[in-house]
């Protein structure tokens, strides 16, 4: 998991730099947003000059799943004072959640395990971002080498790896087609958020 974080973080630095973002902006994203898929999405939306509210709303939607994860972890952190809980929350990611859940399911009780792993991921993610910025600045014209497609390929990979049920495949295809059609029709600013909000309704109606 640490290796994956290093690779994805470096990829993020490269594609963000290639998209023309300033190194400081990229570093700030990894430091303060600290959410892989959202950061890639932001780069994509920035490169399409999407309006700021659309960017923020898209990130909010992508991260709504944290509500579920934090809700499921919160009984474990109940004894901590509020400020420690708010500190722990900042480092909650898919990876740290998966790791913590596994630890607690195996009967573990120590919260130090969560903090150590989650903060290590944060440090690694930011180091990887900086490596990527450095590499990305050295590559040159992105379209010529197909590097502009790296972000799309990353999203495709994230989706393929996230598929758990047959319904997920249908949802992903519907979302991609609706967003693509909206973009072709000239509604590219609202394409992603509209398609992304509509397609999960399939999960509500389909039994798994």
């Amino acid at each position: 998991m640490l290796g994956t974080t290093l690779l994805v973080g470096t990829t993020f630095g490269v594609v963000a730099r290639q998209s023309g973002l300033d190194p400081l902006e990229i570093i700030a994203m990894s430091l303060f947003v600290f959410a892989g898929a959202s950061q890639f999405a932001m780069v994509q939306l920035f490169s399409q000059s999407a309006p700021t509210p659309i960017v923020i709303a898209s990130v909010l939607f992508i991260n709504l799943r944290h509500l579920l994860m934090a809700t499921s972890l919160s009984p474990r952190l109940r004894r901590l004072p509020l400020e420690r809980r708010l500190f722990a929350a900042f480092f909650l990611t898919d990876e740290s959640f998966a790791m913590a859940t596994g630890h607690f399911r195996r009967g573990g009780r120590s919260l130090a395990y969560y903090f150590t792993f989650a903060i290590a991921l944060f440090v690694l993610w930011n180091l990887a971002t900086m490596i990527g910025i450095f590499v990305g600045g050295a590559i040159g014209d992105p379209r010529r080498f197909g590097v502009d497609f790296a972000i799309t390929a990353t999203f495709i990979g994230i989706v393929v790896l996230a598929i758990r049920h047959r319904a997920d495949i249908v949802i992903a295809i519907v979302a991609a087609l609706v967003a693509g059609a909206l973009a072709l029709a000239g509604a590219s600013t609202i394409a992603v958020i509209t398609a992304g909000a509509i397609a999960p309704l399939i999960a509500v109606f389909v039994r798994r």
């Binding site: 690779l7 579920l68 929350a89 080498f145 197909g146 967003a179 999960p200």
Partner: protein, 99 residues
């Protein structure tokens, strides 16, 4: 504007992480809402892929992007590796655009 978007996104992300830790929810979400929230990330990320594959640069693709996308799907499904998928995607789209 980029800085405003970064600050807003950071705040939005932190709220989704911290709210359940700060506030005690009573009861549970209805299962339909849970299923919707679980499906959201896949849908949003797939929605980001759609325009980039079907309409790169705002116009209908000449075919390079959908073909490369299919190769990426096959690679990741087979190798279970994000990096392998990215490499195959970048190389294949660069070659396909030459045709």
């Amino acid at each position: 504007m980029i800085w405003v978007a970064i600050a807003g996104s950071a705040l939005a992300t932190y709220l989704t992480r911290s709210l359940p830790f700060a506030v005690r929810f009573r009861g549970r979400l209805p299962p339909a809402a849970t299923r919707y929230l679980e499906a959201l990330p896949v849908a949003i990320i797939a929605a980001l892929v759609g325009p980039a594959v079907i309409a790169p640069a705002g116009a209908l693709t000449h075919g390079a992007e959908p073909l490369a996308a299919a190769l990426v799907i096959a690679t990741v499904a087979w190798r279970r590796s994000l990096l392998a998928g990215v490499i195959v995607g970048v190389v294949s789209v660069a070659l396909l655009r030459l045709i």
